[in-house]
Symmetry: C2
Subunit: 366 residues, 2 copies
């Protein structure tokens, strides 16, 4: 077989049935028809999926490795997802766990354009962990959001990302919001000598995404937030390719928890398609990720993989400044801690509480 993907699934199955299940997945994810009815030598030799191995993980779960032709992806993001999990996503007892790619496929997508060094360079922090907060609530007008952004920036946080719910709504249209917030953050930086970056959230189809990215660029913005599973992976990959000057923070909205293992989707795949940073729920917050999932996800994002740049893990989802020490012990320094709502809850003391969060991060380990 020519260059291949090796795709790993976890399948709930009886031991007696697993070989047939594995073979069925190999067929479903490739030719999707009875193999005995195929007489074309190229299809039989190169395109029909092959079972590469089956391991019994115990308790009725099997790890199944399937080999698929890299050419079947058309070297396109959506079709890659389709080959990995298109129809098989409809089986509730199959999870997509991992994929090994041939080098040319990884190079086609290219991974993060800036990676961790690029994010560090934006705010002039060479080694320490980075800090992030979230701009909300949606419903405020542009000047209301800008006032909060300015106060977060005065607190010295490195990145202020839009809440992923901020889109292009009538009460705060994208262009007006970005103009106001970029100006507020710039004014705060001027006053404080800081280098806080504002990362607006993009939404809509590719035409709208491009217009929004250009508006952001016109306001001096160099970092954007995008939710790849809301936008669609083809749109996310196109956006990354079209705006090589922009760093992208990926948001997990709609990424779900059940069918594609988070380290693969939020770590590997978002990184593959160009995320420079990836937001995910840390254990013990509002969502149910385990410590193991969080650790695997962080390593999938920033560990050596296919020669792609590292993608910065951004644990979030109900974090507080009190958890800084524990989180930095868990993730080390190559991380960006995101504390949102619990800072906003400080009301009039927003800048002071932000500064206290930032100070905890800077002081850790020194």
């Amino acid at each position: 077989m020519s260059p291949s993907l090796i795709v790993t699934y976890h399948v709930q199955s009886d031991a007696a049935a697993i070989e047939a299940r594995a073979q069925a997945i190999a067929v479903e994810q490739s030719v999707e028809m009875p193999v005995e009815a195929i007489d074309d030598a190229f299809v039989l030799g190169e395109i029909v999926g092959q079972v590469d191995g089956i391991n019994d993980l115990g308790q009725g779960t099997f790890s199944v490795r399937i080999r698929l032709a890299a050419s079947s992806t058309g070297f396109e993001a959506g079709q890659l997802l389709n080959m990995l999990f298109g129809n098989t996503s409809i089986h509730p007892d199959v999870a997509l766990v991992d994929v090994q790619l041939p080098p040319d496929l990884a190079a086609t997508f290219g991974g993060p354009r800036h990676g961790i060094p690029g994010l560090r360079a934006r705010i002039g922090a060479a080694k320490r962990p980075l800090t992030c907060s979230a701009l909300k609530p949606q419903g405020l007008p542009p000047d209301g959001l800008a006032a909060i952004a300015g106060r977060l920036a005065l607190g010295g946080v490195d990145f202020i990302k839009d809440d992923h719910g901020l889109a292009d709504q009538a009460y705060a249209p994208f262009a007006a919001r970005v103009a106001a917030c970029a100006a507020a953050v710039a004014a705060a930086n001027l006053a404080s000598g800081g280098a806080t970056r504002y990362a607006p959230s993009l939404s809509g189809n590719l035409d709208q995404l491009r217009r929004q990215a250009k508006v952001a660029r016109d306001h001096g913005i160099d970092t954007l937030l995008a939710a790849p599973m809301i936008l669609g992976l083809p749109a996310f990959a196109a956006l990354v390719a079209d705006f090589p000057d922009m760093a992208f923070i990926a948001h997990p909205a709609m990424a779900g928890a059940t069918a594609i293992r988070p380290p693969l989707l939020l770590g590997r795949l978002f990184r593959l398609f160009g995320a420079d940073a990836t937001v995910f729920p840390h254990q013990g917050g509002r969502f149910g990720y385990s410590a193991t999932t969080c650790r695997d996800l962080a390593e999938a994002a920033r560990g050596e993989w296919m020669g792609l740049k590292d993608c910065l893990p951004v644990p979030a989802g109900g974090m507080t400044a009190e958890r800084v020490g524990e989180m930095l012990d868990f993730y080390g320094d190559e991380v960006m801690l995101l504390v949102g709502g619990s800072l906003l809850a400080a009301g009039p003391r927003l800048t002071e509480e932000t500064a206290a969060f930032v100070h905890r991060v800077h002081a850790h380990g020194t």
Copy 2:
């Protein structure tokens, strides 16, 4: 509150915790921050999600209705999905079950442009159930696929859709494949006096989708296949709006089975964004949908809803000609039966087996 969405979730919960869970979902899906830290009257009165009702469904499952401001969707497909299920998709114990939309939101997306009458008009069948087959396997060159398409068309099937795995691969580039298959189907129609339609599968980002749709149009094609969850809902909605002459058959790839209930996603939402027909796995085939799910999905697609045109149910997923009678008894005449692999398995008798399948459908109930 202004015009609202009413979103229904099924939540696994203890009875003692369900009110807090419901309130947490209402906040997560709207402002995503502590409500007590919000002092803006518009945000508090209009934007913060409200719990509209909770019903105990038994066995630890609760139906929770949440009211969200329609304005928060920005009247855009991706942001609508984000408001319905963005962060809450990450909770493995919450399923998205249903949504009620205000009329202006439904009108913004517009639903099917052609609907069941438009599909019927294409092939001149006013009342009977329609027939469909699938063109595969991927890996064949354009002339190999065209030969199969021609033989299916000679068998008199109404629609031949590309397998959703046919993309823009080097071994059968989109433009060459569509040219060859469209010509083969046209030649078969000329020979037989039939009106078979070939529906090629689109892939890629919005630029690529538009180029492919134009290529298809140039070859006289008026029906397309698209997988909204692979392309991204924003891209699918844009494509439907850009090509009002085209009917769209939606494919369920990547639609999964677990987190969004299939009648909502494959029935209601794909219909909302413009699917004229929706493919889904019928019970007893290769996938695990129940009879209830299939019936609910068909009714969500074609039942009266918001004044939108009906979307034609297309049960599939390992069906055979032997099941025609049972399926037509189940769905009635407003349906298109899709039999793919089991016809292709007939090898040299492909045209004859296709004709036998078509005959069974035409003869049913007469």
